[in-house]
Amino acid sequence: MNPYAAVLLLTSAALLQSSLLPHLSRGGLKPDLVVILVISWGLLRGVREGLLWAFIGGVALDLLSATPLGLSALILTPLTLLTGLGQKSIYRTNILFPLVIIFLATLGYNLALLLAWQFLGRPALWGESFLEALLPTGFLNTLVMLPLYPLLSWLHRRIGPERMEW
């Protein structure tokens, strides 16, 4: 996908996540739309495009968040590398694998964020954070992935083979 289109898409997703989704959320939880998009794209298109999306998505998230600029990109990059290294063909044909992957990726992403914040002097409250925010977000992201992954899969087929040019 054209990287400029990726910038537009991921920035829009980050804006949605920080403006519209909180109003639609119940119990204060909203899906990590950008994380879902980045991980899904990495699974579908491979590591190269996935890493670019991780960088763009991470920066877009950090611009709208109280987290230091670059932190989300720093966490998403190795996460995408890990998830994108697997067998793309399996991910593409079976919906179950991406669902498991997004659940684990959500936990990984948020745990890494908590760890980073603890280093930065913010109270992490591991147990409460895990039960009250991380686990519910993991399930919510998995639920959102269910309709989103086939949609991205369709987009991936429409675009054709991987090609990136700025």
Binding site: P22, S65, A66, N110, W117, P123, E128, E132, A133, T137
Partner: protein, 268 residues
């Protein structure tokens, strides 16, 4: 000459007609008429019905076109009214919020308040921050308390020329010195992941009950005194522990936060 030749034929025809009329008058043609009527009736009926159908079809298409036009006009009207309805509802909600803010202003004449709209939330579920549409250009500075008519919201932690970031009191990194309204017991209200709050460091022996109102104590100088924080929903007290703890439900509905006020003249 040729004209003369047609006269006998015309006379003959006239004669024939007269004879026909005579037969008709004398009802002698009735059996023939009956047979012909029997033969023509279904044909006539069919053709008449067909004609009626053609007329109806024409009218149907005319009506259809008219109905389509009417439908379009009504749909436009419905759309306009729906938009108008949403606008009025929004204006009503805004009016209620502004009236509540005015009431708060009148009840707290010492505070210099500036209204702001919430324009964003932190995208992470682990952080409880909001972004407001007032910044350093409007005189907003780091540390200023943010409230609604329902109670304390948080404090400004970052400012930009036209916007600011506010740390909500439900964030895990937020601590507010507080007191229980009835017993005057003091403690610290801290945010919890998931949007709740807990009041810690309440001395053993202090009376804390469910339903008690929790206010800012003003200790530490981060927030003005007597701002409503929330209500006690549960108390955890163990004799072996040094302090008691109380679960606090915020009075501010953080999920539906749209407008806030910044106390601009508060000096820490």
């Amino acid at each position: 000459m040729s004209q003369m030749r047609g006269i006998p034929a015309a006379l003959l025809l006239l004669l024939f007609i007269l004879a026909f009329l005579a037969l008709e008058v004398t009802h002698l043609l009735e059996p023939v008429e009956n047979v012909v009527a029997q033969l023509f009736f279904p044909l006539q009926q069919g053709l008449d019905s067909l004609g009626e159908r053609f007329t109806n079809a024409g009218r149907y298409f005319q009506d259809l076109e008219m109905l389509r036009r009417q439908n379009e006009e009504l749909q436009k009207l419905v759309d306009q009214l729906a938009i108008e309805n949403v606008r009025l509802r929004e204006a009503e909600i805004e009016n209620i919020t502004l009236r509540q803010q005015l009431d708060f202003k009148e009840a707290n004449p010492d505070y210099q308040l500036l209204s702001a709209q919430v324009i964003g939330h932190d995208p992470s579920n682990l952080l409880e921050y909001i972004t407001i549409d007032r910044g350093s250009g409007d005189g907003i500075a780091v540390g200023m308390p943010v409230v609604t008519s329902q109670g304390l919201v948080g404090r400004v932690v970052e400012t930009y020329p036209r916007s600011s970031r506010v740390l909500l009191i439900i964030d895990a990194s937020s601590s507010v010195n507080a007191l229980i309204q009835n017993s005057r017991a003091t403690g610290v209200v801290q945010g919890k992941p998931g949007g709740g709050m807990v009041m810690r460091y309440i001395q053993q022996g202090e009376e804390v009950k469910t339903g008690d109102l929790v206010l800012t104590s003003g200790l530490g100088g981060n927030f003005p005194r007597r701002l409503v924080i929330g209500q006690v929903t549960a108390v955890r007290q163990k004799d072996i522990e040094l302090f008691q703890e109380a679960e606090v439900e915020p009075t501010v509905e953080f999920d539906h936060l749209e407008m806030v006020m910044i106390i601009t003249d508060f000096e820490q």
